[in-house]
């Protein structure tokens, strides 16, 4: 109990609790995990809100992300600077969105960001190719990849601009019942 008080103040914990899908205990556990990644960089005292960011390479080494083909994109989408440096707040954000109780819409927004490799607010063919190559570890031939891309865009594109905007993506996601359970990382 005493230990808890030194890491965060009560208000901080309340704020975290109100703004994320985590309880106090989980926040503390998350801090533990974050601290574990770089014990010499991350302070144990967060009451003064220190400015501390961990680079992408460190975060990606977490066992939860290490084997994920989208690990770099996940970390980049949640980092404030877009380069993959995560502050503790970003870190909490990431796992809050990926937690079990996060809303479908929130998950959809971040999934869209993750799949949007070139950060142009659209999932275009280029993004889809990258996604597919990561999904299948480049086991499909390039013609097959082309075919799948075309088919995907044909199915999901509603406004005929031949790329998927967020609205298209969201509309498709709402029809996938399993999305909520698969877009989830237990921490």
């Amino acid at each position: 109990m005493g230990n808890k008080q030194t890491i965060f103040t009560d208000e901080q914990l309340d704020a975290y609790q109100d703004c994320t899908y985590f309880t106090r205990k989980e926040i503390l556990r998350l801090h533990g995990r974050y601290h574990e990644l770089a014990p010499h960089l991350v302070p144990m005292d967060y009451t003064k809100e220190p400015d501390c960011k961990l680079p992408l390479a460190l975060i990606v080494n977490m066992p939860e992300l290490n084997e994920n083909p989208f690990r770099n994109r996940i970390v980049e989408s949640f980092s404030e600077d877009g380069l993959g440096n995560l502050s503790f707040n970003d870190f909490v954000d990431m796992f809050s969105v990926l937690s079990e109780t996060a809303s479908r819409e929130l998950k959809a927004i971040y999934a869209f960001k993750i799949y949007d490799f070139n950060v142009d607010n659209f999932l275009c063919k280029e993004d889809l190719e990258k996604t597919l190559n990561r999904l299948t570890k480049e086991e499909l031939t390039s013609e097959e990849v082309q075919l799948v891309c075309e088919k995907t865009i044909e199915e999901a594109d509603l406004d005929g601009d031949h790329k998927l905007s967020y609205a298209d993506f969201e509309n498709m996601i709402t029809r996938a019942p399993d999305f909520l359970s698969t877009f989830h990382i237990r921490i």
């Binding site: 084997e67 607010n121 005929g160 601009d161 237990r186």
Partner: protein
């Protein structure tokens, strides 16, 4: 990209425009917009104008910074790579490429409008998010509270009709505007209730820092408004109570979280095998909670009072404990709180026990009620009756709730699972963290994608009539094999039970009361037989399914589930008939002491044998088979964990436990121990022996199906049996809380009569009881109402489904409309642009 060289006159034309001319065109365009949209929503068009404005500036900039590079329109005419292009131009080319394919010639202006459409900026910029959530909170507030006066609000932040409108924020987001939006949002949040506010805050796609800033502002404002307005002491009190309640709620949540069972173990399984196998363990956990509830209820209200006031010890004294009792549940256990027979039929009270409870005649029964001293008394029969009844009732409610929730989650819209897009975006299981499993998963996904592509390319139904007939015959054959073997097994169980029953009575007549080891062990024959059937027949079914070659894996799973379910239901049906139809009715004629305890023991044995056989199956079927195939066959493939079969076994065991609660109140405790053991054994075995499943597994749908199965045949069957026993079978006359009564139901009636005699003012209760509980008409009416409610519910769900379909249709139509509008926009743009340069464009075209 070289393909679009100079084919479209628009581009040519655009290419010849000088930046200065563009200005003029743009002005006229704004006029046009103003003309055309006098009564329309000017907002969008204003944005459009602003976009164009910006574009012009771009042109100028491009021109100024790079004088030798012609404006973008012309760039397109050049063969690619000739001119060094900035990132922006590159983007535009990319945007133009697909358009080229469809021959829809949109100018870059239109494209820019497109890319800043509200639906496309959601989740991108802070301002957009804030104003979106402002709209939502306003909507919510309007729904929850009285309507806020719209005049107070800033014009730009009035809620739009769609609720989804977002400020299409241009690049020059002025900080003041954003601050205003944020202020409005904070105001709205402040007026929401705490839970709504938290929900909104959590769902906002902003960083934690931004959210906690907003939260801080909200709290500040709250405090200021509190400090300003004179606070009544009662509202202060209310505030404090709310704060305290909130803290209590959080600590309760934390407590619940710390209770979270098996967090690490579940994470490991999920990380290695994905959602499918995980769902088995989650189901096991759910069952564990159900049993925990039952155990707590029966333990608290039945076992504990009875254990504190033990009845007269049986004449022959306690039997010695030998190891076999653990298996058979007899001997040492038979006269304990474990079984129905031990419970007394009188009112327990603090000081004196009612000595020598008269074994029969209800008159004596009521006498015992009367003589019970007032105060701390506990009417055991009544407690027994109501505890079991309430436990079943509450379980039923929880089950139905779980089921409806699960339905809501998984069956949003059907017939959409085999879309390529969904495969691409939703099939990756982010939980999986183990390297081999990840490799396997990507392999699976690529196979599935290939199959889907093949499906798309292949023409359907190229089978001949002969093939179809052949397949039909095979299906018929497989089904008849399955049904035949199930029937044979049911018959075998029936005769075995019959045989055991006769043998036991013969034995009882020949040598009275001489418990032999052989006799004890022979009791195990029936449970062993049934468990053996349960173990072996699914193998036969699998073989039949292998013969059939179903196309889709889901059909295969459903067929396997329905066959296994059929088997288990048949077996349980035969057993229930045997217990309730024969043991219960004929036992008294044959002078058996306490059939309820006997049935309880039987159920205990079944439960135990089920566990033993599951363990054996795990050992032989998974562990030894893995060793065999690795060492002898030198294959690297490991067995796959059969989720459906294992879940069905869990359901079977749970049905036994529910059936047995009445006869053996501690059976849920046994089931808890069994589930705990099972969890660790299965977990170890899965980790050690199995590999991730190859078939795709629609976890959420399957979970729904399993919960439904748990509710519909399992729980319903068990509760029908229990109700039947309570309602119409006469309990045995020499033991148990209901001895001497005609049915267990009478306990309630006697109590009511007693109450009526003691306090005449409660006479209405007796009438109510007579009409409501004892009259079957009331039950029928209640069941009818229940059915009607279910009917309405399904109708509502059906309606919602239709509405979803319609909405999907509407989304599609709106897409079409959007396309159309963009085309119009483009054509207006062209029309306005062409006249001044009509001649020049013609020149260039020549």
């Amino acid at each position: 990209m070289a393909g679009n060289v100079g084919l479209s006159p628009h581009y040519l034309e655009a290419g010849l425009e000088s930046p200065i001319d563009e200005e003029g065109v743009h002005d006229s365009f704004s006029q046009l917009i103003a003309e055309q949209s006098e009564d329309g929503p000017e907002f969008e068009l204003q944005a459009l104008a602003r976009e164009l404005d910006e574009e012009d500036r771009d042109y100028v900039n491009a021109y100024l910074t790079n004088p030798d590079q012609k404006p973008q329109g012309e760039v397109r005419q050049k063969p690619q790579g000739e001119v060094r292009r900035g990132r922006r131009d590159l983007d535009r080319d990319e945007e133009a490429e697909p358009l080229n394919q469809t021959a829809e010639k949109w100018s870059s202006a239109t494209l820019r409008v497109l890319s800043s459409m509200p639906s496309r900026t959601i989740g991108r910029t802070r301002g957009a998010i804030i104003s979106q959530y402002y709209n939502r909170t306003t909507e919510l507030r309007m729904r929850r509270h009285s309507r806020p006066s719209i005049r107070d609000l800033h014009h730009s932040s009035r809620p739009s009709l769609r609720g989804y409108r977002v400020q299409s924020d241009s690049n020059e987001t002025d900080g003041a505007n954003e601050m205003k939006k944020q202020d409005n949002l904070v105001n709205n949040l402040q007026s929401l209730s705490v839970s709504d506010r938290d929900r909104m805050l959590r769902a906002m796609p902003l960083g934690v820092a931004a959210k906690s800033e907003i939260r801080r502002l909200v709290l500040c404002k709250e405090q200021i408004s509190k400090a300003h307005g004179q606070i009544h002491c009662c509202s202060q009190l209310k505030f404090n109570v709310i704060i305290a309640a909130r803290h209590a709620w959080y600590s309760w949540l934390s407590f619940l979280h710390s209770l979270q069972l098996w967090h690490v173990a579940l994470k490991r399984v999920g990380g290695r095998f994905g959602t499918g196998v995980l769902s088995y363990f989650l189901f096991l956990k759910t069952l564990l909670f159900f049993n925990l509830f039952l155990f707590l209820v029966t333990g608290l209200f039945l076992v504990l009072p009875q254990a504190v006031h033990p009845p007269e010890p049986p004449p022959q004294g306690h039997l010695n404990f030998s190891g076999l009792e653990l298996l058979t549940g007899r001997g040492y256990f038979s006269d304990s709180v474990m079984y129905y027979g031990y419970y007394s039929n009188y009112t327990l009270n603090g000081r004196s026990r009612m000595s020598g409870a008269p074994p029969n005649a209800s008159a004596d029964e009521s006498a015992s009620f009367e003589s019970a001293p007032r105060g701390l008394s506990y009417n055991m029969p009544l407690a027994y009756f109501f505890t079991i009844g309430m436990a079943f009732f509450i379980t039923c409610i929880i089950l139905v709730y779980c089921m409806s929730k699960s339905f809501g989650q998984s069956f949003r819209v059907e017939k959409s699972h085999d879309m390529v897009a969904m495969k691409v975006f939703c099939s990756w299981d982010f939980k999986v963290i183990k390297k081999p499993s990840v490799a396997l998963m990507s392999e699976n996904i690529s196979t599935q994608l290939k199959e889907l592509l093949a499906d798309v390319n292949r023409d359907h139904d190229n089978k001949t009539l002969g093939q179809k007939l052949c397949r039909l015959t095979v299906h018929c054959l497989a089904w008849s094999i399955c049904i035949g073997s199930t029937m044979a097994c049911a018959l075998a169980v029936y005769y075995l039970a019959d045989h055991m029953y006769n043998g036991r009575h013969l034995l009882a007549h020949i040598n009275t009361m001489d418990p032999q080891l052989g006799g004890e062990a022979s009791l195990l024959a029936l449970p062993v037989g049934v468990s053996l059937i349960n173990l072996l027949l699914p193998g036969l079914f699998n073989a039949a399914a292998w013969m059939e070659e179903y196309d889709s894996p889901s059909v295969r799973t459903y067929v396997a589930i329905s066959r296994n379910l059929m088997l288990k239901m048949c077996l349980l049906g035969v057993l229930c008939y045997h217990w309730l139809g024969r043991e219960a009715v004929e036992s008294q004629a044959l002078g058996q002491q306490c059939w309820e305890s006997f049935v309880g023991q039987e159920l205990y044995r079944f439960l135990l044998m089920d566990l033993v056989f599951t363990v054996l199956d795990t050992l032989f079927g998974e562990f030894l088979w893995r060793l065999f195939s690795e060492k002898v066959l030198k294959r690297s493939r490991r067995p796959v964990f059969d989720i459906a079969r294992n879940v069905l076994e869990l359901i079977y065991g749970q049905t036994l436990a529910w059936l047995g609660v009445l006869f053996s109140p501690l059976l849920p405790g046994v089931q808890i121990i069994k589930l705990l053991l099972l969890f660790y054994i299965k977990m170890g075995s899965v980790m050690l022996n199995c590999q991730a499943p190859r078939k795709p597994y629609r976890a959420s749908q399957m979970t729904t199906i399993f919960i439904t199965l748990l509710c519909f045949p399992a729980f319903l069957g068990a509760s029908v049996c229990v109700t039947y026993t309570m309602w119409s079978i006469s309990p045995s006359s020499s033991c148990g809380p209901f001895r001497g009564l005609k049915t267990m139901m009478q306990a309630g009636r006697l109590w009511v009569e007693q109450l009526e005699r003691d306090t005449p003012s409660l006479a209405w209760l007796a009438t109510a009881h007579a009409y409501l509980v004892e009259n079957p008409l009331f039950l029928f009416v209640a069941a009818g109402i229940f059915l009607i409610v279910i009917y309405f519910h399904t109708q509502v769900v059906g309606g919602q489904r239709k509405i979803i379909d319609l909405l999907q249709e509407q989304i599609k139509n709106e897409g079409e409309d959007k396309k159309f509008l963009i085309m119009r926009l483009q054509s207006i743009h062209e029309k306005k642009r062409s006249p001044p340069r009509h001649s020049s464009s013609q020149d260039s075209a020549c």
